[in-house]
């Protein structure tokens, strides 16, 4: 009995030391997959509960992709449940949506518009959040969770080649949205001009 308690204590400490440092990463992915804070928090909590439950059988890979894979399953299960129980949401999990899009949009754009310029963090987050799945997931795992292609492949359950093409497409879409956002934000010129003339 006492030995059991000691073993359990040891197990909890090991799990805590291994899993807790990745909480921000897990939460970040949850925010982008679930798109609202409350659902994201629920998913994170469920993810850690499941991880704790399966920790005894954990033999690798690295802890971060393992947790993120669990989180992804939690989120997908939630989407599956909702699509059965409730009205279908507009979350597009359909890869064909992206396949139809050209790899490189607006090729006739002027050269100076091709370069990306600085965007503030909030805008970048919004643009990423607006990407369709599975491209959103790929770019978040790469740029925010800082996973390698191999790790992204493990989390998403697809070959590395698919990760590469998803990332290429994700960045092409993001770039188009990025430049479009820029033209909107760089417009308040006239207001400044009218202020100086009065």
């Amino acid at each position: 009995m006492a030995d059991d308690a000691v073993a359990e204590q040891k197990r909890m400490r090991t799990f805590q030391a291994a899993a807790l440092p990745h909480l921000d990463d897990v939460y970040t992915l949850a925010r982008y997959l679930m798109r609202n804070t409350q659902d994201a928090e629920d998913a994170v909590q469920e993810c850690y509960l499941r991880a704790l439950r399966h920790f005894d059988s954990y033999r690798g890979p690295a802890m971060k992709p393992w947790l993120l894979a669990i989180l992804r399953n939690v989120c997908n299960a939630e989407f599956a449940r909702r699509s059965k129980e409730e009205l279908p949401t507009d979350y597009s999990q359909d890869e064909s949506l992206g396949e139809e899009m050209p790899m490189w949009q607006e090729p006739q754009a002027s050269p100076e518009k091709m370069m990306v310029r600085q965007q503030d963090t909030a805008t970048i987050r919004r643009l990423v959040a607006e990407l369709p799945e599975p491209f959103r997931e790929a770019i978040v795992l790469r740029e925010m969770n800082n996973l390698s292609y191999q790790e992204i492949a493990q989390v998403a359950g697809v070959p590395v080649g698919t990760v590469m093409s998803r990332l290429a497409r994700a960045r092409a879409m993001l770039r188009a949205a990025w430049n479009a956002a820029e033209t909107v934000t760089t417009r308040p010129g006239p207001a400044v001009a009218s202020g100086t003339t009065s």
């Binding site: 939460y27 509960l49 993001l174």
Partner: protein
């Protein structure tokens, strides 16, 4: 290398995923192709901007404390809090009797107030610990069924009360089952409900803290607690759902208890 290959591969080059041989191939193509060179520069800038921006979200403190609580070292399922509560209470009274210059009445009222608050807090903390323990694998339910006619008899002989088991499925609080738990060293009935992904534990016992005819709200470690007394029973509802929803749950339970006075 063709442009369509390069369009994919240049990302792997930006991300540092290519071996030396492939990296050379992509670099060679980019050097000789204005279109791909432009894309390479654009995407590398975008990657650099994203890497430099603090894009990773920070988990809110209340979520972190909830996750930490999940990992709290569980006590054995049967813990007698009495063992270490009793001596402290005795020494509290003892100390007061020896050194107090307060009038008897004042001292009594003070003791009452302190004890009352203290006891409520102690039990609330225990109830929350029991709730957290219950969320761990295989601890949630001893009897797992949504049929209240199965849950209720299961408690016979296990606890000294006949706990009300109320079906609130229509109210979208799903009855999951029941469990025998221990709070303040006494066996208590825990009836388990669920709303969406949130588990609600309803602990029921004859005496579980000072009596509260109206629900008393507390929040401990990010969990919401409601304690109230109905039909002579103490009821504690604990969950991570928002306070309003827990209040709704308490109202439904209290409401149906009042419809079926005393034991059911």
């Amino acid at each position: 290398m063709r442009c369509d290959e390069s369009e994919v591969m240049l990302h792997a080059l930006i991300d540092g995923e290519l071996d030396a041989g492939h990296a050379r191939d992509v670099e060679a193509h980019v050097a000789g192709c204005a279109g791909c060179a432009e894309k390479f520069a654009t995407f590398r800038t975008m990657h650099d901007v994203m890497s430099a921006a603090p894009l990773k979200e920070i988990a809110p403190a209340h979520l972190r404390s909830r996750i930490e609580a999940l990992m709290a070292v569980p006590e054995g399922r049967i813990v007698s809090m009495r063992q270490f509560l009793r001596p402290t209470r005795r020494s509290f009274f003892g100390g007061l009797a020896m050194g107090s210059a307060l009038s008897g009445a004042l001292a009594a009222s003070l003791v009452f107030a302190v004890m009352r608050g203290d006891q409520e807090q102690t039990i609330a903390e225990e109830v929350v610990s029991a709730h957290i323990r219950s969320l761990q694998a295989g601890h949630l339910m001893d009897v797992e069924t949504s049929d209240r006619h199965t849950v209720k008899p299961w408690f016979n002989g296990r606890v000294d009360v006949a706990p009300p088991v109320i079906d609130l499925t229509a109210e979208s609080f799903t009855l999951l089952g029941g469990r025998l738990d221990y709070v303040d060293g006494e066996p208590v009935a825990a009836i388990v409900y669920q709303r969406r992904k949130h588990v609600i534990n309803l602990f029921v016992a004859q005496h579980l803290g000072p009596k509260h005819p109206r629900p008393n709200a507390k929040s401990i470690q990010g969990y919401n607690c409601r304690h109230w007394t109905e039909n002579g029973l103490d009821l504690w509802a604990v969950s991570d759902i928002v306070g309003d929803e827990l209040d709704e749950f308490v109202q439904k339970i209290a409401g149906s208890l009042r419809q079926t006075p005393s034991t059911t």
